[in-house]
Subunit: 241 residues, 4 copies
């Protein structure tokens, strides 16, 4: 069932591994078929080199495995929550990429310090609050999804314009139009985090404050790729062809 | 038309990608035929793996696309401005390479801290001022070119002896005799930026000031590669054969 | 003798080299057959590219070479001490991986700053005391093993829940169920050290204290992979299939 | 003439390039035949991919090119000075490897902060003084060699036990028994520099002083690989087989 979706999710998982953002069996990518109401996700703990389209696990929006011979990723309930609460999301990626994870561990949002950031994320990448003992004890992975949604709701952040979040003490989740698009955002997030780390260390070395770029520059870069009048790429509004 | 130029620009774009300085579809390289008054540039948002010589877009010095089935890079107007104002430039490269971009985001020039820098750039790599809201609103990419030229004019910097600039809050542009030479300068700039970042962090850790190398050392290294009596390489004045 | 063990130890040594954690001839991996009471270890100073299963050296638990045409790794006595004192250990890896070694050189334990750490190590990765002149003079490699064991005994650390240590001024040793599992832990340790370094630098840049993640989050992540009710991976309790 | 030497020097130059320590045409390796009194060195500015044994340039100890169709490396006179003043040297490598160069640019010696350092270098890697305007004007590359020798003579450093130096504001030179051995030392120096940089940043973050490891640990590690009773590797005294 859903061969195309499984294949696309496999390809996205392999792209994540090729990008070097998922050592060992770390990280996972999923993609959803909104029409059917199922998403395909990487099985838990299988090395990327052994993955096949057939190994992807199909899960419904109640969180039930509907097809697959393996257990789904242990983070499946977090993906599920994102799909349920963020209707525009077609794919989700979770990594422990080094520098984005360092910001998550430092409980610091990634302030928009330049146009590379603005090309992908509309403003600072938010960091969630730390989960409470009760949330961790109850239904950890689902509650992780809930604090992500909470961070967006409380600050009125648009999940389409901000396809990334840092879970405090844990690491980044990114999403996009489909599985591969969520991987592209995971790659961009790590690159943006590296630039932000170095910018912050340099600004401190020179005794400068850490301040975001002017709003007009942020607006311009985000909108030329993602706004109504987008002119980046070959088809307006599509930043990836 | 201009098959040779298209091929050279394709090769330069692929070299940039191979050097790891252009993840995804980031970055772009162009090269000009001064005789014909046309330059070839990477199309916008096409993955490097899908590029062909035939996909390069030909643009004239009025900024009009004269040939090509794709839209040119969204940064085309910045390349155009550089070609119009810097007559010695034969090729231009734009990247978001991590550390050079971090210096641009920190709005810090890269001071000449050693001979690797002096081998390629005659003095500190300048950083532009931030664009104004009016400039961003008007004709952003062209205005980006104008602030680059302004930075050179105001400080009387020679664009042949300083084939690189950091656009504040954005990232580096480099240029050279031709497209491939501008890529070589982009690779050198990122390497020099990495050394400068570590030098700055080490000097701070040891409580030392950040000071450029003595001028006689800068002069010696730049001139032995690029000066009238250059003796680096197999042909004097040519630093790349 | 013990062809299977030699092959497994060869594969683990090659995996360490492929992971880029062992430049030149640095690093060494061993694996033990508890039934026979022998362990196989990399020969001293042989480039990874020249290793064969046949080149692995068999050593007994008295430290005597029982088979092998080469001298065993100069760190053999440290592996031996770990096998003798930590009965659950099936494989041992020693590297000079950059950032884990930097923590060892800074004589700083790696505090648990996030869930990536908690997925692999139950609490902060301990650092040993520096060896005394007498210990260095006497039987250096064996004494290195003894200070490792001392660090675990004094703090009542469980060597199964903490399969890694930093030897002060030297570098990391990791272990696991078998040789390959100890290599996986060496890879995880270096990745965790990179994240910790960046987290520490970012926290300092923002004037924040360096504090471990809440215990309930540490417990949750370690136990979902390694606890009695582990649910990560395809077989409970096995974090690697 | 001296085909074997040319081949060995070619291989060493290619090994340096493969190690990623010589982007573009940076860096150069030479090797000497003490019997004949000639050394072979990389030609100036030729990409590593185009090098052949036949392209290596033969130079005598008066600095005269005795064979070769290309100009020798512009750093030839520095290699020459090292061969003339350090009789045990069989090969010399010069790189601009990122972190070792950053220490040279910070004018900081690399203090021995751990056993990885002690395995290769007997104490802190010295940094030279900056060259004077007169020295730069006179015979720059030869004078660079002279300040290296000066740094060793003034502090009574043994060039066999310390096969590396940082030239202030420039970068590292390493040497060894032959060309390939000098490349191994260049690779070890860069790795040691990375560890030292991270150790220094971590110690500063934790408010600790930057101090070398105890002398007994330095002695032990250097001597077990390079001392009279060396027991590392398969043949005593040989750290590379």
């Amino acid at each position: 069932m859903l061969e195309e979706l499984r294949k696309a999710v496999l390809e996205a998982n392999l792209a994540l591994s090729r990008a070097g953002l998922a050592p060992g069996t770390w990280g996972n990518v999923s993609g959803i078929d909104r029409g059917q109401g199922f998403f395909a996700i990487k099985p838990s703990g299988i090395p990327y080199g052994e993955l096949t389209a057939d190994a992807m696990v199909l899960v419904d929006l109640a969180g039930k495995v509907v097809e697959g011979r393996f257990k789904p990723s242990s983070d499946t309930a977090t993906h599920l929550e994102i799909y349920c609460e963020f209707p525009e999301v077609g794919g989700v990626t979770h990594t422990h990429s080094t520098v984005a994870t360092a910001f998550a561990q430092a409980e610091q949002p990634i302030v928009c310090l330049g146009t590379t950031h603005a090309d992908h994320f509309d403003g600072q990448v938010p960091v969630t609050r730390m989960l409470t003992p009760a949330e961790v004890a109850k239904d950890y992975e689902r509650e992780t999804g809930k604090v992500i949604v909470e961070a967006f709701m409380e600050c009125g952040i648009d999940h389409v314009r901000m396809p990334a979040v840092l879970v405090a003490g844990h690491g980044p989740f990114t999403w996009g139009r489909d599985a591969m698009d969520s991987v592209r955002n995971a790659i961009a997030l790590e690159e943006v985090a590296r630039m932000a780390r170095d910018t912050i260390l340099l600004r401190r070395a020179f005794g400068q404050p850490i301040e975001p770029i002017p709003d007009h520059l942020l607006r311009k870069h985000f909108d030329r790729k993602h706004g109504p009048g987008a002119y980046y790429g070959q088809q307006s509004g599509d930043s990836h062809r």
